[in-house]
């Protein structure tokens, strides 16, 4: 195939233990380490492997967000993407808004395949890929743990609650990556240097004239309820007794 589009989101690094603002206004993001959404990183790795097998010509990394998202796109370029596009905005988009922006990029770039993570680890929505596929009128294969490219089709193994489901989709299609699809490569220093010379195009969101008005308003952000501290039992007999006392056996 000719082209694969990979969508990358900038999120709080997965190693960071997030803190909820005491006034309920949101998550404390000041000075927090940001990174590429891990599921998107897996999606990019898969695109690069397809290209390295000689099955694709070009991998284009795209992102939507603040100017600083260029850092994550540069990481994508260092991993091996050929060029990058950032749709710049300071407004946080809902998944439908993000899908509309991605649809505009799809219309412009006409990729044969769009790869992205099954969800971003900040809002945990798990929607954007499916919405893009709907707006585009093309197939979707979510929770992908294996993809095999055929002639104009892709066979995708999906991790579903009942086990592993295999489906076949005509291309172009949208595929969302699950955890076990692959293990992304480490970026080497020379690649970071090389990535600086690759093209990174900036498009202001206003230029695309897309409706992004939100449907949902976040009123409050709170820490999750805390469970009561438990007890330690000394042996199996005490464990069984405690469970029996609680009426659980």
């Amino acid at each position: 195939m000719q082209k694969i589009l990979v969508c990358l989101k900038r999120v709080v690094d997965y190693n960071v233990r997030i803190r909820v603002e005491a006034d309920g206004s949101g998550i404390a993001l000041e000075g927090v380490k940001m990174a590429l959404n891990p599921f998107d990183e897996i999606a990019l790795e898969e695109a690069l492997r397809i290209k390295e097998r000689g099955q694709a010509e070009e991998v284009v990394a795209v992102s939507i967000g603040v100017t600083e998202c260029q850092q994550q796109l540069r990481t994508g370029l260092a991993m091996g993407a050929d060029r990058a596009i950032l749709v710049e905005t300071t407004t946080a988009l809902e998944p439908l808004g993000a899908a509309r922006v991605l649809k505009a990029l799809v219309d412009r770039e006409t990729p044969d395949l769009v790869l992205l993570g099954k969800q971003a680890i900040d809002d945990d929505n798990n929607q954007t890929g499916q919405m893009l596929a709907a707006l585009w009128g093309r197939p979707q294969a979510t929770f992908a743990s294996e993809v095999v490219l055929g002639d104009g089709i892709m066979t995708v193994t999906r991790e579903v609650d009942a086990g592993l489901e295999v489906i076949e989709v005509d291309l172009p299609a949208v595929i969302t990556a699950d955890l076990r699809l692959n293990e992304p490569r480490y970026v080497k220093l020379p690649d970071i240097m090389k990535a600086r010379k690759k093209a990174l195009e900036l498009i202001p969101l206003q230029e695309l004239s897309i409706g992004i008005e939100p449907q949902f308003t976040v009123r409050r952000t709170a820490p999750p309820p805390v469970r009561q501290k438990g007890i330690i039992v000394k042996d199996v007999a005490e464990l069984v007794q405690t469970l029996t006392d609680k009426g659980l056996l």
Binding site: V12, R17, I18, V20, I27, P95, L96, A99, I121, D122, D124, N125, N126, Q127, G129, Q130, M131, A133, A134, L135, Q140, F143, V160, D161, A162, G163, L164, E165, V166, I167, E168, V169, L179, R180, Q215, F216, T217, V218, R219, R220, T221, A222, P223, P224, R227, Q228, G230, I231, I232, V233, D235, V236, A237, L239, V240, T242, L243, K246, L248, L249
Partner: protein, 315 residues
């Protein structure tokens, strides 16, 4: 006034319990009626089960050969076609609903809420973000349809005491042929309870060391009539299949009793179990994070404890 449509999850023969949990969510706020839509090749049995759910008014039965398997691309345009008369369209936040509902929402040109945990009025909803490390209260605009997935661990299943009417519908919707089902392999045919809905779950972790030792988890589960789960580490090490994985990237469950054996308690695992009634942890590392969440902890070597526990429960 609110009218709620719930998309039934099923395997062609039986309704998945997740549907009964969506009904409980819909019942929790004032509305003018709750309907369930069943898409199937032959939905008679499933529609019958849906009609028995307490709180449901009408079951819409849409039979079509293409509905034999639940492909989102095939189902979404049909659901969008019947959604017009409703204020809310809910599906479960299982892999089925997560795959389908955003596609339905986008076809209807509206947003979607994921994993709703509670609502008082059908307008304001609570949902987890950052793997459950924060809970947001979100308000939906009242001039738009609310499409949402319901976090199944947050709701009990509706009772089977209802008697809704069943209505067959034929839709004039063009169905895509660009997406085709090939196969499904899983734990089908197992005599054990379903992990997602079981009242008791026993899970094993990396400390089991291999698939052979993991058999002890099955033995303990069988003593308790429990479902079997596993940590991501145990799945990645190849002890069991991915369909047993409990956690943020696997199944999020809320059994009455959860027994974690040889699981240290990575944050992503804890996210999947924190709504369980009673959590028991067996681990030889007293510092393991699982003990912070556990109601009952036993610091001991699982290879001594498990045979002892299994013997005690058997006698």
């Amino acid at each position: 006034m609110a009218r709620v449509l719930i998309v039934a999850e099923h395997d062609g023969e039986h309704l998945n319990l997740s549907t009964a949990k969506c009904v409980s969510c819909a019942v929790s706020f004032e509305n003018d009626g709750i309907d369930v839509v069943v898409l199937a090749a032959d939905g008679q049995a499933v529609a019958g089960e849906a009609a028995a759910l307490e709180g449901v008014r009408t079951v819409l039965r849409i039979d079509h050969p293409a509905n034999e398997t639940s492909l989102a691309a095939t189902w979404a345009p049909q659901i969008a076609a019947v959604a017009a008369n409703y204020s809310h369209v809910f599906g479960p936040s299982t892999t089925f609903g997560k795959d389908l509902m955003p596609r339905v929402a986008a076809l209807l040109d509206v947003g979607q809420l994921s994993d709703i945990m509670s609502t008082t009025d059908g307008r304001s909803f609570q949902r987890p973000i950052y793997a459950g490390n924060a809970i947001v209260t979100v308000e939906a605009r009242d001039d738009r349809l609310v499409v949402a997935t319901v976090r199944t661990a947050s709701y009990p299943a509706a009772e089977n005491t209802g008697s809704a009417t069943i209505e067959a519908r034929t839709l004039d919707v063009e169905l895509p042929t660009h997406t085709r089902f090939i196969s499904l392999r899983g734990d089908a045919g197992s005599e054990r309870p379903d992990l997602q809905t079981a009242a008791r779950v026993v899970s094993g972790g990396r400390a089991l060391s291999n698939a052979e030792n993991f058999q002890m988890i099955y033995d303990l589960a069988d003593c308790l009539g429990a479902a079997v789960g596993a940590s991501r580490a145990a799945v990645d090490s190849g002890f069991v299949g991915n369909d047993l994985q409990v956690g943020q990237t696997g199944k999020i469950i809320a059994p009455e009793l959860y027994i974690a054996v040889g699981i240290s308690g990575a944050i992503q695992h804890l996210t999947g179990i924190k709504d369980a009634g009673t959590i028991v942890a067996i681990n030889k590392d007293a510092e393991a994070p699982i003990f912070d969440l556990a109601d009952i902890g036993l610091v001991a070597d699982l290879f001594t404890v498990l045979p002892d526990l299994i013997d005690t429960l058997k006698s």
